[in-house]
Symmetry: C2
Subunit: 363 residues, 2 copies
């Protein structure tokens, strides 16, 4: 049995340097009160000047950039292979003329990291989404030939207007042409106002527990509504956090579409692919959902052959310094074990077999 | 077997008059282009002046206010009993000094409607949430003695600051004291910005399919984080639309809480009730989720003894005028039938038995 982690992040040295050189979100810095411990502030709203600096963002260390730490984490948690990806916010924030070069450097950097541990590391590349379209398409082509690259990671912003933006079509076409999977990952969350006046009392819970999956759900629904999968029927997307909340809401989404008088009047209800069809043909889900209830719903929606184990490392470390096993990892392991207590084959597929097949990790 | 619909709305005549007298959201009016067909505009953002008036809000007729239409709908769909409730936005928008009287009139109005069809209609009352606390508490006490009232319906705004507002404690205390269930229902959705620039092309799909359940999920998570169910361990809440997305996200919510350094530092992790415990003791879910996938997740989270059939009538009517059976209803019926194909007792409980027991409909 092979265990593959498809949701595991790195901030390669080139990217860390970039963050250290900045003073607005996203950035890495030390504050006088935090001593030697650098803090990474990447989420919109995490930089509230009313928040004490010791509560802003998160403390970061070499587990964020040193690939040896990734390997040690994998060994501790019996993970054979990791498909690493740059974490949010990727290069979304870069000026147009800097993004292309930065993406090349970072993708080369990540590919190099993989080459140091042959067979144990593969990666999703990063696109320079603020660059001109032809630069983005060229990077997709370049990535498709790189030894350890197995697709690309992307946020929900696209070129700045979301993933239902028709200007993304050349990007989707290039990804489809190269059978390059999109690992779709949240970053922007929801506007702070939805969390109410007490949100800071709850630490990072609301933006992390709510903002991320809800952002993802809206982004994919917008893709669906704009007909992305009608135009690109072979475009494959691996959705982070078991699809946000998509498996649970899919029925409501279908019902709202088929009951919408405006969509009907515009002729948009005819010939469209229902979400359940897209789940079975274009969508893969990671198994980062921390419960048997969620995991089973993900399986029901997409199938046990389309669900892939992940950890979200280096995020959600244990709060107890002495802990070696990460509870965030064991919760996801347990959910798989319990949900597939009667189906050993399915458990093995979700833990690694699916990833090997779908991402061609034997090549 | 008894079929009970716990999610079915009325706008009683007193409330319709109120909406007709208004010219800003929420309101009911005819536009020159829409002739005799009145349109009801209740959702934030539905009043965009760039939207043609024929696409603003929704056409409304007697099915919204004439209780005979409700009974006819029930007969068509083999529903024995309905627990009717005023739909959003309730009285949230009223000035403080008008809300108390308006609530009394509307609750009397609804109770009267129920009395015309004994045994077939019960109701959730409406609270004057913009009124002073003692006025709200008095209405809770009055409602608890009204013959057909079986709890109250409430939005996510509370007194204006959300349901994690500590100022709501006297309300929660009064509801708990009178064993008065809260039917928690969305209205405010999410800020328009999250839907992106193309949202109007998709009719009402994004605010209805996304805004409503995501608003609900955030609202309940805020209640949980503020410790409402630690302080009021017998407070019962029936959550609309199968909990928004709560069953699916519960694992992530628990994981984010237990990994939050700030919550730990503040001592908020000790002694708190986990969400899974609250699901089994304080939360009921309706079965308005339009898919077997969603329904099963709801059952896994709360139990087949805590799930209650609903229709959301008069919303989501068929687009075809000649249709008599509503697809939005048959989809929810089918989901129950399929999910409980092997468990006839559970199907009957969800369709009506649970509602009779939980809402004391035999009394």
């Amino acid at each position: 049995m092979v265990v593959v982690d498809v949701h595991t992040h790195v901030y390669p040295p080139t990217f860390v340097e970039l963050l250290r050189s900045r003073s607005s979100v996203p950035y890495i810095r030390t504050f006088p009160e935090t001593g030697d411990v650098a803090r990474m502030v990447i989420l919109p709203g995490e930089d509230d000047p009313n928040t004490p600096s010791t509560a802003r963002g998160r403390p970061v260390g070499p587990e964020y950039w040193d690939i040896a730490h990734k390997i040690a984490f994998m060994d501790t948690h019996k993970i054979d292979v990791s498909v690493i990806s740059l974490a949010n916010p990727w290069l979304d924030f870069l000026p147009s003329d800097e993004a292309g070069d930065a993406a090349q450097k970072i993708n080369d950097d990540v590919n190099d990291q993989c080459s140091k541990y042959p067979g144990r590391l593969f990666a999703f590349g990063t696109l320079p989404l603020s660059a001109p379209i032809d630069v983005i398409v060229k990077e997709i082509e370049r990535l498709s030939k790189m030894k350890y690259m197995r697709g690309i990671i992307m946020g929900t912003s696209g070129l700045g207007q979301g993933l239902d933006d028709l200007k993304l079509d050349p990007i989707y076409a290039a990804l489809e042409k190269h059978s390059s999977l999109i690992f779709l990952h949240p970053h922007y969350g929801l506007p702070q106002s939805v969390y109410g006046p007490r949100t800071n009392e709850y630490g990072h819970v609301l933006p992390l527990a709510m903002g991320f999956p809800l952002e993802t759900t809206i982004a994919v629904t917008r893709m669906l509504l704009s007909g992305v999968w009608d135009r690109f029927q072979n475009l494959n997307v691996l959705i982070a956090h078991s699809g946000g909340t998509l498996p649970f809401l899919a029925g409501r989404i279908e019902s709202c579409i088929s009951h919408d008088a405006h969509m009907k009047k515009e002729g948009k209800l005819e010939g469209r692919r229902p979400i359940w069809d897209i789940f079975k043909k274009n969508i893969y889900l990671d198994a980062v959902i921390y419960s048997e209830v969620g995991l089973k719903a993900a399986v029901e929606a997409s199938g046990a052959d389309r669900l892939l184990f992940g950890t979200d490392h280096p995020f959600f470390p244990p709060l107890e310094e002495e802990a070696t096993q990460w509870e965030s990892v064991s919760t996801n392991y347990s959910a798989i074990k319990t949900a597939f207590a009667q189906d050993d084959k399915a458990a093995k597929d979700v833990l690694g077999g699916n990833a090997v097949r779908i991402l061609r990790l034997h090549e």
